[in-house]
Symmetry: C2
Subunit: 193 residues, 2 copies
DNA sequence: GGGTTTTTATTGACTCGTCAATCAATGAAA
DNA sequence: TTTCATTGATTGACGAGTCAATAAAAACCC
């Protein structure tokens, strides 16, 4: 019963299943069979479309990053003024889409992978640079030449709280984390007056 | 040629080798044989002393945490006043002992493990609570009832910069990270005046 | 002290599972 | 009849954990 044009559907299903399975196990130590089963196909088919397990992971990372990017762009589109734009970037990161257990688990493992895998590292750098440039651009207007340092601190705080919240509670609360980052942001702004 | 009393020596060698190997590979996916070989013994002996691979890892984590704790205590002993004590805690975390590639790699993998392994999570919570209580205690005298929030932000920033520095550069620079956290600390203090 | 037994240290060889990747085979559209 | 979709079965490698065997120190016994 081969319906044509299955490839993109299968790929998408595998990517989703990968995130879910990583979330379930917490590790990259999930088997292709597990992923394939959750995606409703045989492991052979998964290999057929992606070639290797590593490629499945990279695709899943790409997808996660692109979801995150879309969230940020969406939030930025609605934002008013520099402070509003920064707030948008912060909120997007801790939104319920990007701040679920599975997604955090995936991120954690991206970090681990990025230590050795060039492709993973490149993706992470893209994310980090985008974050930095977003922050610096708007901070410039708020804190002048303190912008670079402030951006580094805000970005670091986001990453750190992301990590901490994710491990600390059963259900991560983006609300608390967001509040903390906004507080730090206001300290940065206040200090420049 | 069995010299007696080898057990502690072997255990220590295995713990060291574990950190080194995790640092080399970036993952917990190192084989017991690799670790044992680096520690100068057979894998059978490693199993003899630790029982399982997981136990070897836990022991390595314990060791890393205890080194960190010792560093913090040492720095605190020399510190003057609340602001000096906080600075000591920050500097200890980014000191060259605790801020090497292998150690960061180990930490990253602890985080991954802590998602699912109760023992790992317990160890991480100990570290986090110690950090929080250190910070809150001294911040109280500097920023009053803003202490809790400030501690959360400082701790989050430390964790985040730890992560970022470790991935960003070939050789992580504790100097830059320390400067950033101290700057954030001064913002917190300044805001309370 | 000399002999025997227990304890500790140590490893090579082996078992048993698991899993990524491949392949040959099947079926259905084009 | 070519091309796409799909899978069960298989291969081949690797790796955790076990075991039996060796050796030497120590403890015990007369």
């Amino acid at each position: 019963m081969p319906k044509l044009g299955m490839e993109p559907i299968r790929r998408a299903a595998l990517v989703d299943a990968t995130i879910t399975e990583i979330g379930k196990s917490g590790t990259l130590d999930v088997t292709v069979s597990q992923i394939a089963k959750r995606a409703g196909m045989s492991s052979a088919l998964a290999h057929h479309y992606f070639g290797s397990k590593e490629q499945i992971f990279i695709a899943a990372m790409r997808h996660t990053l692109s979801l995150y990017g879309a969230g940020v762009r969406g939030a930025l589109a609605m934002a008013q003024g520099p402070r509003g734009r920064i707030e948008a970037v912060i909120r997007a990161g801790f939104s319920t889409t990007n701040f679920r257990r599975e997604v955090v688990a995936a991120w954690l493992n991206f970090y681990v992978l990025a230590q050795t895998n060039a492709e993973a590292r490149a993706l992470l750098l893209i994310y980090q640079n985008r974050m930095r440039s977003n922050l610096v651009h708007d901070l410039r207007q708020l804190v002048g030449d303190r912008a670079e340092g402030a951006a580094e601190r805000i970005a670091g705080l986001i990453d750190g709280l992301y990590l901490r919240e994710a491990l600390g509670r059963e259900i991560p609360s983006g609300e608390d984390a967001t509040r903390q980052v906004l507080e730090a942001l206001d300290l940065e702004i206040g200090a420049a007056q």
